[in-house]
């Protein structure tokens, strides 16, 4: 057989850190989490915060529409050629975890089309608490939940909450209105995640996406080092 065969040409190994021309590929960060928690809003805010200092692109995975891609296009957070939508056959978690081939194609096509990129954000359509990204697709993942989805989600855990490289608890501005206990959410998250970081944010507030953007910059620094 060809067991000793060495790979040549593009696309043989998905997690390869280099592009076919030998340059280092873009850092890929996945954003997952329950429906409506604020993934697209976070992606949009990250694009606005980082687009002047970095070369960026976004891949969306919607369940049955192009809503997320269309929202980002409408908001003009990036030029249209930097936003790609992957169709998932009603199963975003399959497309980001079990069969990542369409997403890999999308990230590679973006890099081919708009030149070398620093960062590609991959959003998964709202799914359940078990949806996580394959390591063959992304280098790090952010799990976005919100205070309105119930303040017991950190306690319930699940692979997204416990293993994501960053947990974002979004919409803290709504906490008083929905009766969510932020201190309890923080304690539960700490118990589930030990040393892994957690950010509480409100995209409606002054600070917005600042902390998450700083975390992304840190990841990028480590990726380039």
């Amino acid at each position: 057989m060809h067991l000793d065969h060495t790979h040549t040409g593009p696309g043989a190994v998905s997690a390869d850190a280099h592009r076919p021309d030998g340059t280092r590929r873009a850092l890929r960060i996945g954003l997952g989490g329950p429906v409506g928690s604020g993934k697209t809003a976070t992606v949009a805010a990250l694009c606005r915060a980082l687009r002047t200092e970095l070369s960026l692109a976004v891949v969306t995975n919607d369940i049955y529409t192009r809503e997320d891609a269309d929202f980002l296009l409408r908001e003009a957070v990036l030029p249209p050629e930097r936003i790609a939508a992957v169709e998932t056959g009603a199963c975003p978690h399959t497309a980001i975890r079990d069969d990542i081939s369409a997403n890999l194609e999308a990230v590679e096509d973006l890099e081919d089309a708009v030149g070398p990129l620093d960062l590609i954000l991959v959003e998964s359509g709202g799914d359940n608490l078990t949806a996580t990204f394959s390591k063959g697709l992304v280098d790090a993942q952010i799990f976005v939940i919100d205070v309105a989805g119930g303040d017991d989600i950190p306690r319930k855990g699940g692979p997204g909450v416990t293993t994501a490289d960053l947990l974002v608890v979004n919409k803290t501005d709504l906490a008083p209105h929905v009766g969510s206990d932020l201190a309890r959410m923080a304690a539960d998250a700490k118990a589930q995640r030990a040393e892994l970081p957690v950010v509480f944010q409100s995209l409606r507030g002054e600070a917005g996406v600042t902390e998450v953007a700083a975390w992304v910059r840190g990841k990028l620094g480590a990726w380039r080092a």
Partner: protein, 232 residues
């Protein structure tokens, strides 16, 4: 032109390649089932069976013959041109190339071979999926019958899984449809392999050129829908 593939025969490799979980992008496609469901042509296990039978004897037969021909070692570029000529719908041609590219990625990770590398270099945006499938089988040490079986089975397996999702069809009834089609599938494969062997001597014109007009028309309409569950 015909020569044995690089690896020894392996029944287990066939199972790996035929597994519905093989990560080659098929899960996002319905093989025309979504359009047929919307049009009211597929509404039950019985109508799903008729739909699948139609696919099996048209696009399934053609795909099986193309895959067998690639497994026999016929030039993939010639086969790709033959596949183009047998696929009137531009949307279906684009889908076949996209799926071919996705399959090639998985194939090169599982059964790396110089032939697969050459195909990737010649078709960076993807060759027709059945051609890639045949060359994948060849790299895995499988024969033309195996490649044709995979292609024919995919032609009905994909739409069946999709219909379970689209209609919330009873999964036992849906899978029984596939079991009932199995003898016909074997016959289609036999004819497809015979055609592929003729194509080795007489060229790709010897390959079958059956198509289902409603599948082609449905695919064109489906590609323009603003909201859909499946990519094709």
């Amino acid at each position: 032109m015909v020569r044995a593939a690089g690896a020894p025969m392996s029944r287990a490799a066939l199972l790996v390649l035929a597994d519905g979980r093989f990560p080659a992008g098929g899960h996002a496609h319905s093989g025309g089932a979504e359009a047929a469901v919307k049009a009211g042509r597929v509404t039950s296990a019985a109508t799903l069976e008729e739909f699948c039978r139609g696919r099996l004897h048209t696009v399934g037969r053609v795909a099986a013959a193309l895959a067998a021909a690639a497994a026999l070692g016929i030039d993939p570029a010639e086969l790709d041109a033959a596949a183009d000529a047998r696929t009137p719908s531009p949307a279906l041609r684009a889908t076949a190339r996209r799926l071919g590219r996705q399959l090639l990625r998985a194939a090169r990770a599982c059964w790396p071979s110089p032939e697969l590398d050459a195909l990737a270099a010649a078709f960076p945006k993807g060759a027709h999926q059945p051609v890639v499938l045949g060359l994948t089988a060849r790299s895995a040490g499988l024969g033309p019958e195996d490649a044709a079986h995979c292609a024919a089975y995919e032609s009905v397996g994909g739409p069946t899984t999709a219909t379970v999702r689209l209609l919330s069809l009873d999964p036992f009834e849906a899978t029984a449809v596939l079991a009932r089609l199995a003898p016909e599938l074997d016959a289609v494969v036999e004819a497809a392999v015979a055609a592929a062997r003729r194509a080795v001597l007489d060229g790709t014109d010897a390959l079958p050129a059956a198509s289902g007009p409603l599948l082609e028309i449905g695919a064109e309409g489906h590609a323009a829908w603003p909201v859909r569950l499946f990519a094709s």
